[in-house]
């Protein structure tokens, strides 16, 4: 009794601790956790851009007018939403094309014009240079554009603002209606809002999304329609989708599994207690992940819940296999040796359970060693979940489960008998296995889909609206980036400046529409020094201005503000901080990456039509490398290869464990071959159904292998020489496979690609493993 109290006390305490830990842990959906760790500096940049580049913080807001008459309303709503969001500290910047909103950007650029303008030279500030400048200014003041030049004219005799505006003009700008950005069709007003919080901070992103929606609701009318996209928005949506999926589908799975068990075993008591190891295992797994990572990934949550399918098996094994021999007699009357192995039944069961946990874990250990944060989480939750579920099944369930009435299993007798003849299927299985292996070999590399999109946790199709808004705004698609490295940020900027001259010809030859370099906003120290040196001192400049304007229609004394501004520029240095709290500052912080050992300036490119030309132009430039973000594909492929090797290692580990534990070459071989064959057939079926395999199919195959190895183990464990598996074993394995099939078939219905892939893989893998195990792994098969 005391031992009982101890066990249950430990269980209650454990559950409480785990529950507290899990309840306090946030859930995130950082997609980069499911991307491989960077191997090269280029990949590091890539991963960083995906994770926290400015692109990951920007939300695109479209306010669509339902008809042409509502366009002005949409423009007004755009202005009002922008005003609300700008007042909100959650947003680092908000832009909608409204010049009034860009005033602080314009002011900063204007104030820095003498250090930014590429035209600044000693010649420009000589008497002749000033004369030419004055001539131009006079012409501008006489032109139709005069009212627009006039507010700056007195401070800008040499017209540096226009030069800087030209330099920084985006290659493609969105159309403007009524002073705000609109899409090409002129129906949808466009806004950009960048959050201060990182793109992967889903709680903050969710709050930002809610803020934008509220701002729209208070500004919009029923004639307007809000469109919202961006990485942060997707993260929020996908988290919601994963959570609702996980909740809904685990409920469906639990109800269906429960109904099945109730129908077959007709024991409500069992059903209640079967949930115990399952729930405890899942909770313990989540708690361990929470402790190890500080947050639980949404995908881990979904995946963890699928452990229902595996953990409930342990309860089934314990309930059905621990039943008295009466069952076996009932199930299999012709069994003559029943009495002989009666005493061994419990020992065999515990050993089987222990081996099942070991072999399943081996696969997941391999997954954890693959060096991929997301997969480490999945491996950890699986191992802890399985081990705890098995321990609870082993130590707690025998206390509470009562042997079933033998008649309840009688209905399954025909099924058990039929399956015990599965060995007759051997020729078919071998043919299928050979066909599957051949099919997979022929497919070769075409087996794999390595596009990021395929494994992205986002639901399919959510990218279209994003693409449309993005191209309307003329945003660089961020596919191509030139990374310029230096020992210091200043050296990186110098090297970026050197690249400008290589990129301009490409712009002229239309190989690219434009480029966006951080050195355009923060010139290198040497360039800034040269420009300051080109500016004359106050007295000199005043004298030269007077002389230059003596024959002009312009009044020299009206240009005192110009002289003052030049003097101010002579004492100014521009650093990235100069642009703090503006849209430009946001852009810079994404484009200047300062970290230990590497300082990188990122030049983004728009409208790249000839990537080879860019690559050639960049080649040989000091510190510069041309990064194609679509190269994320090779990144995924790299990782997938690593994961495949890890899986292979896991398989070998499983064989090793079996060999050591069973000390029986024949049984080890039977079980290993059964698992390998069922995995091959499952993979081939998957390729036929899904078209190609992704990383997540591969991971799910590990899970299917683990589950399959359990079936093979129970069926194939040597009991007595030449002894067929006991009917109770057959029944328990069939039940286990049925519950697994149900749970994962439910998961396969998920709209979240990751969960769908795991679901369909195991839903196919479980029945295949059952049939193959019965046919190949069973020792007594003729």
């Amino acid at each position: 009794m005391r031992r009982h109290a101890l066990r249950w006390g430990a269980w209650v305490l454990g559950v409480l601790i785990c529950a507290v830990i899990v309840a306090r842990t946030p859930i995130n959906t950082d997609i980069t956790m499911f991307l491989p760790g960077p191997a090269t500096p280029e990949q590091a940049i890539l991963a960083e851009q995906l994770r926290d580049g400015v692109a990951a913080r920007v939300m695109l807001v479209g306010i669509e007018a339902s008809n042409a008459g509502q366009v002005t309303t949409a423009a007004n709503a755009s202005r009002q939403v922008a005003k609300t969001l700008r007042a909100d500290p959650q947003f680092a910047f908000v832009a909608n094309g409204d010049p009034a909103l860009l005033a602080s950007e314009r002011d900063r650029l204007f104030d820095a014009r003498y250090l930014l303008s590429e035209k600044v030279s000693p010649q420009r500030f000589s008497v002749e240079g000033l004369q030419a400048g004055a001539g131009e200014m006079e012409a501008l003041l006489r032109s139709s554009a005069a009212p627009l030049i006039r507010p700056f004219a007195a401070r800008d005799l040499t017209g540096e603002l226009l030069v800087v505006a030209d330099q920084l003009k985006p290659a493609r700008a969105p159309a403007t209606i009524d002073g705000v950005w609109f899409d090409g069709a002129g129906r949808t007003a466009l806004l950009l809002a960048a959050t201060r919080a990182a793109g992967f901070d889903v709680d903050a992103q969710a709050h930002a999304v809610a803020t934008i929606k509220a701002a729209f609701d208070s500004a919009g009318t029923s004639a307007l329609n809000l469109q919202l996209t961006g990485p942060g928005v997707f993260a929020v949506q996908s988290r919601a989708a994963i959570q609702s999926d996980a909740r809904r589908l685990s409920l469906i799975a639990a109800v269906a599994v429960g109904l099945l068990l109730l129908l077959v075993l007709r024991s409500l008591r069992f059903l209640v207690w079967a949930a115990l190891p399952t729930a405890t295992g899942a909770l313990a797994g989540l708690a361990m992940v929470a402790l190890a990572f500080g947050a639980i990934h949404g995908i881990t949550l979904g995946f963890g819940l699928t452990l229902i399918g595996e953990a409930v098996d342990y309860a089934i094994y314990v309930q059905v296999q621990r039943s008295s021999d009466d069952h076996n007699r009932t199930l299999w009357r012709e069994d003559k040796n029943a009495v002989l192995w009666r005493e061994d039944r419990n020992a065999v069961l515990w050993r089987g359970l222990w081996l099942a946990v070991l072999t399943s874990s081996a696969g997941f250990v391999a997954m954890m060693l693959s060096g991929f944060a997301g997969l480490v989480q999945l491996g950890l939750i699986s191992i802890v979940g399985i081990a705890v579920a098995a321990a609870v099944a082993r130590f707690c369930l025998p206390d509470v489960l009562r042997p079933l009435d033998s008649k309840r299993l009688a209905g399954l007798a025909p099924l058990a008998r039929t399956l015990s003849h599965a060995a007759r299927l051997r020729p078919v299985i071998w043919i299928a296995a050979v066909a599957a292996f051949a099919f997979l070999l022929v497919r070769g590399d075409r087996l794999w889909n390595d596009e990021l999109q395929a494994i992205s946790p986002l639901a399919r199709g959510s990218g279209e609206m994003d693409l449309r808004l993005r191209s309307s705004l003329g945003l660089s698609d961020l596919r191509f980036v030139i990374a310029v490295e230096g020992d210091t940020i200043n050296q990186a900027l110098e090297r970026a400046e050197a690249l400008h001259d290589r990129l301009r010809p490409l712009q002229q030859s239309k190989a690219i529409a434009g480029f966006d370099s951080p050195a355009a906003l923060v010139p290198s120290a040497a360039v800034q020094q040269a420009r300051r040196a080109a500016l004359p001192d106050e007295a000199t400049l005043r004298a030269r201005t007077a002389e230059a304007l003596s024959n002009s229609a312009l009044r020299a004394d009206a240009f005192e503000p110009f002289i003052a501004d030049v003097q101010r520029a002579r004492a100014t240095t521009i650093t990235p901080d100069y642009y703090a709290a503006t849209a430009l500052g946001q852009r810079l912080s994404a484009q200047l990456v300062e970290r230990k050992g590497a300082n990188v300036a990122l030049i983004t490119l728009t409208g790249v039509s000839d990537a080879a030309a860019v690559s050639a132009a960049v080649k040989g430039a000091a510190g510069a490398s041309f990064v194609d973000l679509a190269g994320v594909q090779s990144l995924v492929a790299d990782y997938r290869v690593r994961a495949a090797w890890a899986a292979l290692g896991g398989a070998l580990l499983i064989v090793l464990i079996l060999a050591v534990q069973l000390r029986n070459v024949a049984a080890t071989a039977r079980i290993s071959i059964a698992v390998a064959v069922s995995l091959a057939i499952t993979s081939a079926l998957l390729v036929l159904i899904e078209g190609s395999l992704t990383l997540f199919h591969l991971v799910a195959l590990l899970l299917a292998g683990g589950i399959g190895s359990n079936y093979a183990l129970f069926v194939g464990m040597p009991q007595q020489e030449q002894q067929s598996p006991a009917p109770t074993v057959v029944v328990s394995v069939v039940l286990a496979a049925a519950t697994t099939l149900i749970a994962f078939a439910a998961l396969a219905m998920s709209v979240t690609p990751v969960l769908h892939m795991i679901g369909i893989t195991v839903a196919i893998g479980a029945p295949v493993a059952l049939i193959v195990s019965m046919a190949i792994a069973a020792p007594g098969a003729r």
């Binding site: 003041l141 139709s144 006039r150």
Partner: protein, 204 residues
């Protein structure tokens, strides 16, 4: 001196407008529609212009002159002959600008939609000549008033960015001809454009 007289008259006009608004608003709307129908009927125009600029940056008011031409629906060209040759040609959304005073040849082409304030400024004349009241009203608050011999339109920019530069644009004319444009800048500078019609080619 001229400015103060203008604004006092405007004050009186707007006071009168407020006082009479229930009756005159409707009447003025009718007048506007009638006026723009008349303006739009002239598909092609040629005119001489003399422009005077009053600016704090200039030693004295500067005068330039040349020709203005318009062809429906959206071509407006301004050729300055004196004191320096300059051509601005706006067709549809495209602006070509050529000036002898500009360094490096001084020839530029750009899109109006890239420069919304400039577009607004250009439309004050172009949309009026085209008889395009909706475009004008999208950009400006348009007020019509009767003059001794003809009419006057006062345009106040709706866009804040434009209003930062331009306080208002006043157009005067008789029948379907525009005879003067007055641009009052927010900073106090003033541009007066006198237009003398050469030959109005009637609608085909």
């Amino acid at each position: 001196m001229m400015r103060s007289r203008l604004s006092r008259r405007d004050c009186l006009l707007s006071l009168a407008a407020i006082a009479l608004s229930p009756i005159t608003a409707h009447a003025a709307d009718d007048e506007l529609t009638k006026l723009f129908a008349e303006l739009g009927a002239k598909r092609e125009r040629q005119a001489k212009f003399v422009e005077r600029k009053f600016s704090a940056l200039l030693k004295a008011p500067v005068e330039s002159s040349g020709t203005l031409s318009f062809r429906a629906p959206d071509l407006l060209e301004r050729r300055t002959e004196t004191p320096q040759r300059e051509t601005v040609r706006i067709e549809g959304n495209t602006v070509s600008y050529e000036s002898a005073a500009m360094r490096g040849g001084g020839k530029r082409t750009f899109s109006l939609s890239d420069a919304p304030p400039l577009a607004a400024l250009i439309e004050s004349l172009r949309a009026t000549l085209a008889g395009d009241l909706p475009t004008l009203r999208r950009l400006y608050e348009v007020t019509w008033s009767a003059q001794k011999s003809g009419w006057q339109l006062t345009l106040v920019p709706r866009d804040r960015g434009v209003r930062d530069a331009v306080e208002k644009v006043i157009l005067r004319g008789v029948g379907g001809d525009v005879s003067a444009v007055e641009i009052v800048e927010t900073g106090g500078d003033l541009t007066l454009l006198q237009i003398t019609s050469l030959a109005a080619i009637p609608k085909k």
